[in-house]
């Protein structure tokens, strides 16, 4: 008897969990539900446009639907288009893998001033997420708060020349926007000492290899071989990117031409003027689901038949390899704990519902996006939800 499992969220955590479930038990009915009309979550909308190799895992995820018999139910937002309770009643188990989509607030006075933008909102706009806000004007001297990999992604894209974006899938609008920013200097601040920053050394090395970058470090790590010290020594381009560590933001205020950030440093308080502020200090739940309550229920999967995965479960750290590892462990646990009930309707719950798109729909969108790519890009994304939903053109029929 095959159990029916719904996975809410078609990003890397949801897909790896589905993959591991079907590898262990190929007869399961695994359905991947996503609020967007397209699958893969942060692989499409979070992994940087110029990191196409990292996006290669999408080929594994496609096989979920083309070979492992998982089904994709896109454009279906749990909590709006269908309630979580309905879903839980219909499936033997529900896995919440919705991620954390909201930028964590800075928590300082002035955090909502115009010119303060979250890195999540910025990258959604850069990567043409259908719900993204417009790209902001950053001005000549943006300041980035945070020293994790998302911050480094933003820095790298801001520092790249148009030629260095060849082969990416950065859209025409975002590419023109980047070229028009006229950035002259970027300041990056982080609370931790340099040696404790969360970025991966490889990402910093990559930043230091850009033709325009000139990495500078205000409070260098003591070890000369530190990745940032090496990148600083190796880079000598025209765009200063200054890292300041042990620097804690205290308050933001509007000034005539931008924003003034007051920070606390080992040398005392300082003020840094910037044309805009990008906060890249992590992600939090957007509040659509009661995360704390659901996580508490998910602790006892046998009783609740509810499970949590990825960032929704553990918070906004961990990259694609961790999603795979955790997905495998979670799949083993689910298979141990669930008891299938043939009376549960599973995917027949969705029969006749309007607006849901399936994996065939995505394959047609995918083919059209690849075919429409200009010479210096590997893909041209449809940016608007209506284009992602538009019935596929009959050209491939």
């Amino acid at each position: 008897m095959s159990a029916k499992i719904a996975i809410v969220g078609g990003g890397p955590s949801g897909c790896y969990t589905a993959q591991a479930l079907l590898k262990r038990a190929p007869d399961l009915e695994v359905d991947v539900i996503d609020a967007l009309p397209v699958p893969y979550g942060l692989v499409r909308y979070g992994v940087a446009a110029d990191h196409q190799g990292t996006k290669g895992v999408a080929r594994q995820f496609a096989r979920l639907f083309t070979r492992q018999k998982a089904q994709f139910f896109g454009n279906l937002r749990v909590g709006e288009d269908i309630s979580l309770d309905e879903l839980r009643a219909a499936y033997d188990a529900v896995v919440l893998a919705t991620g954390l989509s909201a930028d964590r607030p800075l928590g300082i006075p002035g955090e909502d001033l115009p010119g303060v933008i979250g890195a999540g909102a910025l990258t959604r706009a850069l990567y043409e997420h259908p719900d993204a806000t417009d790209l902001p004007h950053l001005g000549a001297t943006p300041l980035v708060i945070g020293t994790g990999n998302v911050a480094i992604d933003v820095l790298r894209l801001l520092a790249k020349t148009p030629a260095e974006l060849h082969g990416s899938d950065l859209g025409a609008g975002p590419s023109d926007w980047l070229a028009a920013q006229g950035i002259e200097r970027i300041t990056v601040i982080g609370r931790s000492p340099a040696a404790a920053a969360r970025f991966s050394p490889v990402m910093v090395k990559e930043l230091g290899e850009l033709s325009r970058a000139d990495i500078q470090v205000r409070h260098p790590a003591p070890e000369a071989e530190d990745a940032l010290n090496l990148a600083a020594a190796a880079s000598s381009g025209p765009l200063p990117i200054e890292f300041r560590f042990e620097t804690r933001p205290l308050a933001l205020e509007a000034i005539e031409r931008g924003l003034r950030l007051t920070v606390e440093t080992p040398e005392g308080e300082e003020r840094i003027d910037a044309s805009s502020v990008i906060s890249a200090i992590g992600f939090t739940c957007d509040g659509r689901l009661d995360r704390a309550g659901l996580l508490a229920e998910a602790e006892d999967g046998t009783a609740s038949r509810l499970y949590a995965a990825g960032w929704f479960r553990g918070g906004p750290t961990g990259a694609i390899p961790q999603c795979r590892e955790e997905g495998q462990a979670l799949a083993a646990r689910i298979l141990e704990e669930i008891t299938p009930d043939p009376a549960r309707p599973g995917r027949t719950l969705f029969a006749g519902r309007e607006g849901i798109v399936d994996f065939d729909h995505w394959q047609q969108i995918d083919a059209q996006e690849l075919a429409a790519a200009p010479d210096d890009r590997c893909r041209r994304k449809f940016a608007r939800r209506e284009d992602l939903l538009r019935p596929a053109l009959p050209q491939d029929a």
Partner: protein, 147 residues
């Protein structure tokens, strides 16, 4: 021929290619697929040909699932003379300085223990347009012709 296929993977791409290779070969050969993480170096002596698919991760490091195998190779210093292997790398040319290092370092370690390479190690570029199986299957067919 008895062909054992092993993979060293971080995100699962090498595992997928290993499975594709097994599917391609299974009609004509006796094949098996295993994760290097669950493989003892001595096990390579069992097959007439070992096909290894190995990626690179981070700064030219071994992928997570190859690490336990490499630790055993280093700690146990097994004599692998007589072992024949062909190795296919997965890499990302965005990280040019360490491109394909995982498969290169693994091949060097096996050769140092006495194993013999068949064919030339090639690396699929995740940043390129080719699909890994489109490179790996003809590569392996060429090796099997002479094996």
């Amino acid at each position: 021929m008895k062909i054992a296929i092993y993979y060293g993977t971080e995100t699962g791409n090498a595992e997928m290619l290993a499975e594709d290779i097994a599917t391609e070969l299974e009609d004509a050969h006796e094949t098996s697929v295993a994760d290097l993480a669950e493989t003892a170096p001595e096990a390579l002596k069992a097959a007439e040909l070992n096909v290894i698919v190995c990626s690179s991760y981070d700064d030219g490091d071994f992928p997570a699932s190859a690490k336990p195998f490499v630790e055993k190779l280093n700690a146990e210093s097994p004599d692998l003379s007589g072992v024949r292997f062909a190795i296919f790398g997965l890499g990302d040319s965005e990280y040019e300085a360490t491109y394909g290092f995982g498969s290169m370092k693994l091949a060097d370690l096996l050769v140092a223990r006495g194993a013999t390479t068949l064919g030339e190690r090639i690396v699929h570029d995740a940043a390129g347009d080719d699909l890994p199986e489109d490179l790996a299957l003809p590569w392996l067919a060429g090796i099997l012709e002479t094996a």
